[in-house]
Symmetry: C2
Amino acid sequence: MKYFLSVFLFTPAVLFSQINKETFYYGKDYFIIEGTIIPASEKESPYDRLPASYKDIVRKPVWDLSKSSAGLAIRFVTDSPYIKVKWEVLNNSSMNHMPDTGIKGVDLYYKNNNEWQYINTGRPKGFKNQYTLIENMSKEMKEFKIFLPLYDGVKNIEIGIDPLSSIEKAKKNKKQPIVFYGTSITQGGCASRPGMAHTNIISRKLDLDVVNFGFSGNGRMEQPIAELISNADAKLYIIECLPNMISPENITKRTIPLVNTIRKNNPTAPIVLIDLFKTPKSILNDNSKRKSKAMDDALKTEFEKMIGLGYKNLYYVETPKIIDSDNEGTVDAIHFTDLGFLRYADFLIDSLSKLDLLD
Amino acid sequence: MKYFLSVFLFTPAVLFSQINKETFYYGKDYFIIEGTIIPASEKESPYDRLPASYKDIVRKPVWDLSKSSAGLAIRFVTDSPYIKVKWEVLNNSSMNHMPDTGIKGVDLYYKNNNEWQYINTGRPKGFKNQYTLIENMSKEMKEFKIFLPLYDGVKNIEIGIDPLSSIEKAKKNKKQPIVFYGTSITQGGCASRPGMAHTNIISRKLDLDVVNFGFSGNGRMEQPIAELISNADAKLYIIECLPNMISPENITKRTIPLVNTIRKNNPTAPIVLIDLFKTPKSILNDNSKRKSKAMDDALKTEFEKMIGLGYKNLYYVETPKIIDSDNEGTVDAIHFTDLGFLRYADFLIDSLSKLDLLD
């Protein structure tokens, strides 16, 4: 009898403490997915960037890169004292000038008095990853956002919380999104972590959705992408394709058709053309300096042609000249680091604001 | 005869153009090595950070980390129209929150009107690496500096130039060096490339030598390192050990002995104690906030004890509070990115300047 009493007295407490220790994980029914204009029902995976129907429409490298979750984020509200995350990536790839945290890590922010505040980064170890992002928090409801990998895809992601806490979807952002189309830099190369790609910085600073159609090496002003983004109810379009245009001739050939196609379905949203980011190599490399100028001149010429033809809501933004910077913002004289991305995001917000495009 | 004539006429030209195409590589007799206070003759390798005699004096992890070339740089003058580099690293290691470019890459700067100007980074591929850093330059003499890997050692490095150009050692910097002793952050974790560790940024901005005794996970105010740096003809000492002190008790136990040992051989050079860098996790994590404060309090107490005892040229610097920053400067809530390093370098220069320590 004494034995049974002991069991009776102690079992519930033991059970309770075990339950209390075991994290409960919640999947995509418990958060919203942001940074996409394509309904999940039209995609192979909710974390893709292109509709399934585009598989045979875009070139293979563009399709493959569209599986990277650059610009996507998940958002939820919870009162859990801790937040863990499990995520599985598609390719488990690496690069020698961008850390794995940026390529395939996840980045936790929380909303602190209407400002998005960085908390911590989930550091990836392989295809399947698990990380404790924060613990020992007070138990009131808080809103969190997790930015997804920039150069890898997400097969699955789940949020781990205390079993005695609740988690629910955050409210959707009602503002019109900004749509970016561009290159490896647009895709976030080489941010140290997903939150530091300029498109994600801008989404936080302006508190709106930003959609990232950056395709590393393949942001070439192509018609299928122009068609796709023309259907977006966009606040504005930012075209950052120049680093992938290879020659001034391609710019001459493709800029007006790109704008025309966007205009087919979206006759009014502002379209902002960004010139070539300046490389510090061009300070000393005379060929590089000449080529850079020829690319900018080609874009400027097409822009002025369109203005002459009466195109409306079209803008050309000159990025800072090499002489106006300490040139410390890249990892390889081309791709931005967090430093370059933050500077560029601030520059872009300032430029768009001066053009009255952010009201 | 005709055959021989042809050979005679064409051979020299062919030979000449082949010679002209073939890069000549120059080793350590053609550049100076900066960022070290230990003569090469006392080291196992000129790119080490500790004397050979310290192998049995320091703990093994400290010795192993001293093989990483953090803070070391090579400097030379050349009129070559291009600069290539071959370098071999010791461990070929990787981390998931710092790119290989920072761990084991090399970083080219050139002196542009007395300012050090970033040009490009050698991206590593393995143990043996080769990279063209810049080409198509005008052919006048220019001064270049290459920062060496932060988290790997250099077995050998050679500069490749045009065979018709010359290369020679740059002039030594005559100013007294600043000596840093600290942790993984001091060692440059997690800069995207070697030039962006704060010690290297400070060396460029102040145009003086900075010596980096950052030992990842092992910057623990230890006596052998204190002994070593006490022999330096230092302009000042910066002690950044707090993140590796584990507990306030260790700080209480080791701070005054550290200062006393430095003072044995260097009775006057300013010693600057840096408090704990603030982690964004501490905004929400109450335990982390408490622990951070206890660490700072322990250091402050030891500092005030020493001031009370009449110690001279001793300073305590409080790094920015979490509330004074957007907290975007780290990759993992602890280690600085280029953004965090540049901000911290600027903060430190400003703080030292206000303390009149930079005259």
